[in-house]
């Protein structure tokens, strides 16, 4: 049966603002299917974003939503979770929002291991503002601000998250649409800070400049570079050159969760009187 997405959308909001073939819509559908699988109570679920095309996502979903300042989704979301630890808190946004201006908030949310899920849509570019390079633009690739090729090495978001202390880290792609909801379900179920990076496409500002002839070519590239972690175990280093691992990359269950630790602080403070 056709999936009833409309049930989760604010009425009258479609068509959404994203360009033809932009993967952000595919990610939003994955999130909706994940919310449906988990039967999340919309009144007890908050989606928080920063600024950018990806950050427009919460505006479409009919639950508690916050569209905040550029790069600050993690800070606002932390406030929501601290005030209401029982709430499901989901953050979303782009690579620019999360790893450039918001990089500091990102690593400290990871470090604290606060129980939230962060969906980061990595299209390797600042889409909304016309295609400036982001910390995730691969070396040599073109952006409006690197017309002769980007000299910087790009961030590996998953490694950054693991290094900073996130306890669940996964990666999917906009091509592998049916995996997106499954990764998000696992991320939401995990108690701690979960990061789900979705490799995405921005045909308008990244594709054109980097000689992709069509959205389909961009989708096929995602298909070609992705290697599931299990399959990668059987591959040689040589075979893995230019590939990107997908699936659940890291999971740790013993690290204390922040709101639970903070509740103990409150108890200790009360007892100290």
């Amino acid at each position: 049966m056709a999936f009833d997405y409309e049930k989760y959308l604010r009425p009258g909001k479609l068509p959404h603002i994203w360009c033809p073939g932009c993967g952000h819509g595919i990610v939003m559908k994955g999130l909706i299917r994940a919310m449906d699988t988990l039967k999340l109570d919309m009144k007890n679920t908050a989606i928080v974003s920063g600024i950018g095309c990806a950050s427009r996502l919460p505006g479409y979903i009919d639950c508690c939503t916050l569209h905040t300042a550029h790069g600050r989704a993690a800070a606002f979301a932390t406030g929501v979770k601290m005030a209401k630890p029982e709430m499901n808190v989901i953050l979303c946004g782009g690579d620019g929002d999360g790893t450039a201006i918001g990089g500091n908030h990102f690593i400290h949310a990871c470090r604290r291991n606060i129980d939230m899920t962060y969906i980061i849509m990595n299209n390797y570019i600042y889409g909304m503002t016309g295609g400036q390079f982001s910390p995730c633009t691969p070396t040599g690739h073109k952006a409006s601000t690197t017309p002769y090729g980007n000299p910087d090495p790009g961030f590996d978001i998953a490694k950054l998250a693991i290094g900073a202390g996130a306890t669940f880290v996964a990666r999917g792609t906009a091509f592998h649409a049916n995996q997106i909801d499954k990764l998000i379900v696992e991320a939401i179920q995990h108690k701690g800070f979960s990061v789900v990076e979705i490799l995405d496409d921005c045909p308008t500002t990244y594709g054109r400049r980097n000689k992709y002839k069509s959205v389909i070519e961009m989708m096929n590239r995602l298909k070609e570079v992705a290697v599931p972690v299990k399959a990668a175990e059987k591959m040689t280093a040589e075979q893995l050159v230019g590939k990107v691992l997908t699936g659940v990359l890291y999971k740790e269950e013993s690290k204390p969760e922040y709101t639970a630790e903070y509740a103990k602080v409150i108890e200790r403070a009360k007892a100290a009187k």
Partner: protein, 65 residues
């Protein structure tokens, strides 16, 4: 038993003509007709739901019983 065919609904006011559903349908059921996606050969549809799953714009529904 006779094969039951789904109803494929394309919502033109949402469709942005990106070609994704057409290109990734394994059975070549869909085509672009002008700006929008359109059903070319419903008989071949295997109800795999790929088109509905991949459409970034909520513009295609595969309705089965």
């Amino acid at each position: 038993m006779e094969k039951t065919l789904p109803k494929i609904e394309i919502i033109e006011k949402y469709c942005k003509g990106c070609h994704i559903c057409v290109e990734f349908c394994p059975k070549d059921v869909l085509e672009m007709k002008g700006f929008y996606a359109s059903v070319k050969n419903l008989e071949a549809c295997i109800k795999c739901m790929q088109c509905e799953l991949r459409c970034p714009d909520f513009a295609i529904k595969v309705i089965t019983e």
